[in-house]
Amino acid sequence: MTPVLMPGARRPRPAVVRGENQSSASGIVGPVRWLLARRNRPVLVGLAFVVAGLSPLVVGGLGWETVSFQVTVFAATSLGWNLLGGYGGQISFSYAVYFAAGAYGAGVSVTSFHASPWVGIGAGVAIACLIALITGLPLFRLRTHYYSIATLAILEVTSLVVSAASPLGASGGLEIPITPYGLGSLEFSPLNATPFFELGLGLLGVTLLGVWWILRTRTGLYLRAIRDDPVAAEAFGIRTTWWKAVAAVVSCIPAPVAGGLYAMAALFVDPNTVLSIPFSVLIVLVAVLGGLGTLWGPVVGAALVITLQQNLALDLPGQASGLEPVIYGIVIILVGMFFSQGILAARPIVATALRRAGARVKGVRPW
């Protein structure tokens, strides 16, 4: 007789005797199963980062490295955004401003002060945090969509100010001169994008670790409560405006670092790119398509969106090159239609498909 399950109750899994199923499987199944276990997730992630870090040795190529670098930059920025937007429910369009703070900070420190771009990136982080705090405290009193509109206004105002500021290159942009190569000057051979990719990967790793840690602290718990029901959160002692401001300040930190790396890789920064609405939307889009309020959503989203965007720009030949935005747009719409909760929400579907496939191979279960 089939046991009746209460709604929401977990279906009991058949007991698996250790070693019974492995006997007929190949030797690789055991280690793979061990790696896929939830408690060993950090090992898997660490391994993935090591593999990604070594990948230029195998895959190589300037185009691949440039695209991968951009993926890491957007993933890190969007991971920060996701802390406030995905977990805290505050949809902000001003992360491009924080990104620009680092980009211009790096650029100005080289062009005007002949200093290391790292100094400018540090200043950019400080400026971004200050902007996040000063704008956050009054704006977080607004309801969600009014807050989002206000952040668009911040983006527009910053764009106008930067476009008129001659020390920042005004609307024409700031060209960053070539200085001796090195990690301190953040300049490397233009034929080798590996250093920037490795730096981007490092930033992504640190950001992931930081966000993961914050989510385990009370801040993570508070942010989810504030997103789900701010009235109830206040009734249980949470100063919602304060905690949203804390999240805004912390979550903006990866953006200026990413911006600094981005500017130094391009040796150019202009308001029409980094302070544009499409650029700002891209940061949001990456997290939304990947999976809002999930740790890995922005990484998956950046891998999809940026790779698609950049490869279309590189690969479409001749007259077809005009179709790039169309194809890009269609893919975004399709993802939005079929994975409205983000690509990561499709995990159960993929897991089921894998289990079914695994069940066909006698004695082998994917996990």
Partner: protein, 241 residues
């Protein structure tokens, strides 16, 4: 010592006078019932006490502090916890996380909060479902979760807003049993209810609101015989002089 004292509290929403010159005192631990027909102003008074509603005039003391106009988070941190008429569970949080959050917000460390949350879930009979999302639970269990969450704040005053509404007779009976044990934890409970029979047996003082006016305060048996109260519930025509 008086725990809560309201003096001439009035609230006006535009043209509606929700509370008019309400004056009362709540002493130490015990169960106080705030009753009245729908629209009498019970939830508004809860809002004033817990900080969500701004009073137009009057004074409110919590202990020896004047607290009229305080923020909800200030009230919560000072020891005023509440439940809601329509349960407000956080969508993405498990039962355990709800209780843990309140314990953390009251100043406990994460580890201590987790232990306390587990203990409170057990004491309200939710141990079996403590790792499930609170939103997925039936109403009766959600109400228990709200009480556990409120207790995690370590309150001295607990406001229960229609905690029995929508429950089956069995669920309501079990919850009444749970609520009647709260004063032994040194808690002063103020419970609103419009069904008098449910709260009369457990309350030691009853406050009756009608159209924003406090029309009676006293022991349940006395209030139940009060002609003004009967008129408010049944209409003047049904009250024998």
């Amino acid at each position: 010592m008086v725990m809560l004292r309201a003096q001439g509290v009035s609230v006006r929403f535009g043209g509606v006078q929700a509370l008019r010159d309400v004056t009362f005192e709540l002493g130490g631990p015990g169960i106080y019932a705030l009753i009245g027909p729908n629209g009498a102003g019970k939830t508004t008074l809860f809002g004033v006490i817990s900080g969500g509603v701004r009073a137009t005039s009057g004074q409110l003391w919590f202990g020896d502090r004047q607290v009229l106009g305080w923020k909800p988070w200030e009230a919560a941190r000072s020891g005023v916890a509440r439940t809601f008429q329509i349960t407000r569970a956080w969508r993405s949080l498990t039962v355990m996380e709800h209780v843990e959050l309140a314990a953390v917000a009251s100043g406990e460390s994460r580890g201590a909060a987790r232990a306390r949350a587990a203990e409170l879930c057990g004491s309200v009979g939710l141990s079996d479902v403590q790792h499930r999302l609170a939103r997925e639970l039936p109403l009766g269990q959600q109400r228990r979760m709200e009480i556990a969450r409120a207790l995690a704040l370590g309150p001295s005053l607990l406001l229960l807003d229609e905690a029995l509404a929508g429950l089956t007779a069995t669920e309501a009976g079990e919850l009444v049993q749970l609520i009647s044990a709260l004063p032994s934890r040194d808690i002063c409970v103020l419970i609103t209810e419009h069904v008098m029979e449910l709260v009369m047996p457990i309350a030691h003082t009853v406050l009756v609101l009608d159209h924003g006016v406090l029309i009676a305060v006293g022991p349940p048996a006395e209030v139940a015989r009060d002609p003004t109260v009967l008129a408010a519930y049944l209409g003047d025509a049904h009250v024998t002089p």
